[in-house]
C-alpha cells in the first residue's frame, strides 16, 4: 500500500509516552481501573478451551476466573474490547503514516525462520511470566507503575534485569 512512498518517521517518543499516559489516566478517571493486554488473551484462551472441551474448564480456576457466570459471552469484557481498540488504533496509525506493510522485523544477521521461531518461543515464555505475575507490561508496568504498586515495581525490576541478563543469548537475532 505504500509502494514508492516512504513511510513517515515515528513520533517523538516522549510525546507518544505522554499520549499513552493520558489514555491511561482517562481509564483511571472514567473506569477506576487501568489498561491491560494479557488479561484479554487469558479470556480468549479460556473461551477457546471452553468451546472445544466444556468439561475441561469446570472447577479449574485459571479458566473459570475468565468465563463469568455463563449468562453473557465471556468475550463481552472490558479488556477484550480494549485490546480490540489497541489493535484498531495500531492499524489506524500505521495506515495514516503509510507504514502498513507485511514484514518481519529482525536484525540483519537473522533469518525469517529463526525470527519467527524466537517470536513464538518468546511469546510462550511471556505468556507464562505474565500469568504468574498477574499482568504484563500494560497491566503491571504501566498501570501498577503509575499507581506505585509494590508488586508492579517488582515486576518492572525483574523484567528489565532479566532482559539485560538474557540479551547476550539473543544478540544474533537483533544486531
Amino acid at each position: 500500500m505504500t509502494q514508492g512512498a516512504s513511510p513517515r518517521p515515528y513520533m517523538n517518543p516522549y510525546v507518544a509516552g505522554v499520549g499513552i499516559g493520558v489514555a491511561l489516566l482517562l481509564a483511571f478517571v472514567i473506569m477506576g481501573r487501568g489498561l491491560g493486554a494479557s488479561g484479554a488473551l487469558s479470556t480468549v484462551v479460556a473461551t477457546g478451551v471452553n468451546t472445544v472441551a466444556p468439561d475441561h474448564t469446570t472447577d479449574r480456576l485459571p479458566y473459570e476466573a475468565y468465563l463469568g457466570d455463563g449468562t453473557v459471552s465471556p468475550l463481552k469484557d472490558w479488556l477484550v474490547f480494549e485490546i480490540l481498540g489497541i489493535t484498531l488504533g495500531g492499524l489506524l496509525s500505521a495506515l495514516l503514516a503509510g507504514r502498513f506493510r507485511a514484514s518481519i522485523d529482525k536484525g540483519p544477521r537473522a533469518s525469517n525462520r529463526s525470527r519467527l521461531l524466537f517470536a513464538f518461543g518468546g511469546g510462550t515464555i511471556m505468556g507464562i511470566g505474565a500469568k504468574l505475575a498477574r499482568g504484563c507490561t500494560s497491566g503491571q508496568a504501566l498501570t501498577g507503575g503509575a499507581l506505585l504498586s509494590v508488586g508492579s515495581w517488582l515486576f518492572i525490576i525483574g523484567a528489565f534485569a532479566a532482559g539485560y541478563m538474557a540479551a547476550p543469548l539473543f544478540r544474533r537475532e537483533w544486531t
Binding site: 515515528y10 517518543p13 516522549y14 507518544a16 499520549g19 499516559g21 493520558v22 491511561l24 478517571v29 472514567i30 473506569m31 477506576g32 481501573r33 493486554a37 487469558s42 477457546g48 479449574r60 472490558w78 474490547f81 480494549e82 481498540g85 489497541i86 489493535t87 495500531g90 496509525s93 500505521a94 502498513f100 514484514s103 522485523d105 529482525k106 536484525g107 519467527l116 513464538f120 518461543g121 518468546g122 511469546g123 510462550t124 511471556m126 505468556g127 507464562i128 505474565a130 500469568k131 504468574l132 505475575a133 498477574r134 507490561t137 504501566l142 507503575g145 499507581l147 506505585l148 504498586s149 508488586g151 517488582l154 515486576f155 518492572i156 525490576i157 525483574g158 523484567a159 532479566a162 532482559g163
Partner: protein, 193 residues
C-alpha cells in the same frame, strides 16, 4: 467532579465497553506512532542501541502518576476507588524475570504485539500465537504452580506505604528518577550513533 465515574455509577456497562474500545484505540495509536510496533526498536532497549521503550514507558507512567496525584489532591478523584492490584512478592518478581527473558527473545510484549500484528508484521502475529500457547500451558500446569502463585502475599500496598513515605514525596522521587533516566538515555544513544 466524581471520579472514577464508573465506580460512582455515572455510566453503565455497555457505555463502559465503548470507553474500553476508545481508550484502546488511543493506546494502540500512540504505541504505533512511537515505533513500538517494531520489534527491532524494542529489542534495542537491551543492546542500548534504541531506548524508545524506556522513554515511552517512563513518560507514560509519570504522566498518569502525576495526573492521579493532582486529581486526588484537588479532591476530584477518589484514589481509594481506583483498583490497585494486590502484591505477591515472589510471583511478581519471578513472573517479571520469566517475562523479561521472553521479552528480549520475542522483541514485543502482549500489547505491542497486537499493534505489530495490525500494522502488518508477521512476527507480531506469530508472537501473539505463542502467548496464547504460553497461557494455555500455565493454565494446564496451574495445580503445580498454585503454591508459588499464592505465596508471599502483601495485599494492596504502594511503594510509599511500604517505605513509610508521603505519596507526594515518592511521586517527586519517581519524577526525578524519570528525568535522570531520560538524560542518561539521550547520552547513551548519542554515543552509539
Amino acid at each position: 467532579m466524581n471520579a472514577p465515574f464508573y465506580e460512582f455509577g455515572l455510566l453503565g456497562d455497555n457505555a463502559s465497553l465503548l470507553v474500553a474500545l476508545l481508550i484502546g484505540i488511543a493506546f494502540g495509536f500512540f504505541l504505533e506512532r512511537g515505533g513500538l510496533g517494531n520489534a527491532r526498536k524494542l529489542a534495542g532497549q537491551f543492546y542500548l542501541t534504541d531506548l524508545v521503550v524506556l522513554k515511552v514507558m517512563f513518560s507514560a507512567i509519570v504522566t498518569a502518576m502525576l495526573g492521579l496525584f493532582w486529581l486526588s489532591k484537588l479532591g476530584l478523584l477518589d484514589l481509594s476507588r481506583v483498583y490497585l492490584l494486590p502484591t505477591y512478592v515472589a510471583p511478581h518478581l519471578i513472573g517479571g524475570v520469566v517475562f523479561g527473558v521472553g521479552f528480549v527473545m520475542g522483541g514485543l510484549c502482549p500489547g505491542t504485539s497486537c499493534v505489530a500484528a495490525s500494522s502488518g508484521r508477521i512476527d507480531g502475529l506469530v508472537l501473539l500465537g505463542g502467548m496464547l500457547f504460553g497461557i494455555l500451558l500455565f493454565n494446564e500446569a496451574f495445580p503445580l504452580l498454585q503454591g508459588l502463585y499464592y505465596s508471599t502475599e502483601l495485599g494492596q500496598v504502594t511503594v510509599a506505604e511500604l517505605l513509610g513515605l508521603p505519596h507526594g514525596v515518592l511521586v517527586f522521587i519517581v519524577v526525578v528518577a524519570a528525568l535522570g533516566s531520560f538524560v542518561l538515555a539521550e547520552r547513551i544513544e548519542a554515543r552509539t550513533k
